[in-house]
């Protein structure tokens, strides 16, 4: 389909969705009188979530990502169609639910976004280090996010099945586990402070327990996701970055080993759970 046309159609949907959101907000303001409050709020949130399902702007980013995969770009004027995401050059279906994994050509364990940087450097001649240094939402970072969104979408409803056969994959899982439980900073927070128990929430936000398999479409199985609250498409790297920000931790480098190890821990824990990425979030 013509991309411009698709984008136009989708942006109209987004506008419509936004106006429904405002209507919902107005309805909520009226409904949230103290006496009814608790029940009404949770019901309202359920309705709001259901409403979000019938139009997910991440489709815009999927279309952009697919286009970027095929487009000849970069100093080498090449496409990414020979990129090996772990299942052989050019195979993108099912790749997402097996990442992170060990790659013998780089000698590293890599997640989707880190692997995309490798392909953009080797095939297209981009400078991966420069892209990794670029802030989220700027320049080539936006293209990495779109590509990750499309590749994730190509594995939608498939079940996570990360490899633990290479010694480095096992080391990354163990390192990721230690990072997950690492307390620190002024608040002594670890990932586990919020995501280590069942049935907890922060304010009204439900918190998945990520120290074990949280089930289909939860946690690792939901990102990349479109965030309605800020109108942004986020990959897993940005999601982890924002977790660490809220944890009062320092800045985790984009595609750094810490983020990949953490992804390995979350991904292996999600074994057998279905991916719903790209999801839509509040």
């Amino acid at each position: 389909m013509d991309l411009t046309l698709l984008l136009f159609r989708k942006s109209k949907e987004v506008t419509m969705q936004r106006s429904r959101l405002f209507m919902w907000a107005a309805a909520m303001a009226v409904a949230c009188m103290p006496a009814l409050a608790q029940k009404t709020t949770s019901q309202g949130i359920d309705e709001y979530r259901a409403m979000l399902q019938d139009g997910n702007p991440s489709e815009l980013f999927e279309a952009k990502g697919e286009d970027l995969w095929k487009q000849k770009r970069g100093p080498k004027n090449a496409s990414l169609e020979k990129c090996d995401l772990g299942k052989g050059p050019g195979v993108f279906k099912g790749a997402f639910v097996e990442l992170p994994r060990y790659f013998s050509d780089t000698g590293r364990v890599q997640d989707l976004e880190s692997r995309l940087l490798t392909c953009m450097e080797t095939l297209q001649g981009f400078n991966a280090t420069e892209i990794a240094k670029t802030p989220f939402g700027k320049g080539e970072q936006n293209n990495v996010t779109a590509l990750a969104t499309w590749i994730a979408a190509e594995s939608k409803d498939m079940r996570f099945n990360l490899s633990q056969s290479h010694p480095q994959e096992r080391v990354f899982y163990e390192v990721g586990k230690r990072l997950f439980f690492q307390r620190g900073g002024p608040h002594d927070f670890a990932c586990a402070s919020c995501h280590g128990e069942d049935g907890k929430r922060i304010r009204l936000q439900d918190l998945p327990n990520l120290s074990k398999n949280p089930g289909d479409g939860v946690g690792f199985a939901a990102w990349p996701a479109y965030r309605v609250s800020n109108g942004q498409m986020w990959g897993m790297q940005q999601r982890l970055n924002d977790c660490y920000r809220q944890q009062r931790f320092p800045y985790p480098g984009f595609a750094s080993d810490a983020t990949i190890a953490l992804g390995m821990y979350l991904g292996v824990n999600s074994k057998g759970s279905a991916s719903i990425a790209p999801a839509i979030k509040r």
């Binding site: 103290p34 409050a37 608790q38 709020t41 780089t106 000698g107 590293r108 880190s114 280090t129 990794a132 010694p167 480095q168 096992r170 080391v171 163990e174 390192v175 586990k177 230690r178 990072l179 439980f181 690492q182 307390r183 620190g184 900073g185 002024p186 608040h187 002594d188 927070f189 670890a190 586990a192 402070s193 919020c194 280590g196 128990e197 049935g199 907890k200 929430r201 922060i202 304010r203 009204l204 936000q205 918190l207 660490y244 920000r245 809220q246 009062r248 931790f249 320092p250 800045y251 985790p252 480098g253 595609a255 750094s256 080993d257 810490a258 983020t259 190890a261």
Partner: protein, 217 residues
Amino acid sequence: MNKKTAWTLAALAAVVVAGCATGPSVSELNAMARQVAKASFRDEGIVKADKVLNADETNRLCSEADVAGQALDEASAKRIEEINLKAIQWPSDGKFLGDWKQGEAIAQSGRGLTFTDAADVVNGGNCYNCHQISKEEISFGTIGPSLYNYGKIRGVSDPSSEAAKPIVEYTWGKIWNSKAYNACSNMPRAGHSGILNETQIRHLMALLLDPNSPVNK
């Protein structure tokens, strides 16, 4: 940076794999995790990587127990609680309670100390993120226990009375340094770690213990 870490890790893993068919030991994995963290995180804004990653003994031992999936052994827990108890600073003027209204604002605020925050941001207590406190605020978290009716349930009718003293002191101590009473508590050490100052903690104390606070209605 990434390449360097990868090489270090690869080298480490290779040595370990060559030496031992069952994989690296716990202490070797701990060392790798430290190395990966050091190479992956950088200073940003007001957050200094070294300071966060070099955890004190309390955080180090609790993290290790969490990884092992076990509670911290009793002797270590007791020792950590003693260290933290000793570190509590009691109110300099002997005054424990401030203004509950200001306490409510501090309990509501989750601001401060992230790498996107300016240094002059007034830090919040983050209390409602994890606790129910007043009945009016329905947007509360459940990681910590409900604090609704905190003073009332504990029979505090006059916080300045002799009878209320143990509860008043415990509450101050718990907010100042939660690890003094539970070595691996999820709760931050608000006073000890410089999140809140004495005045702010007095206001939170009033929110929990003042009979006129909505918490005790």
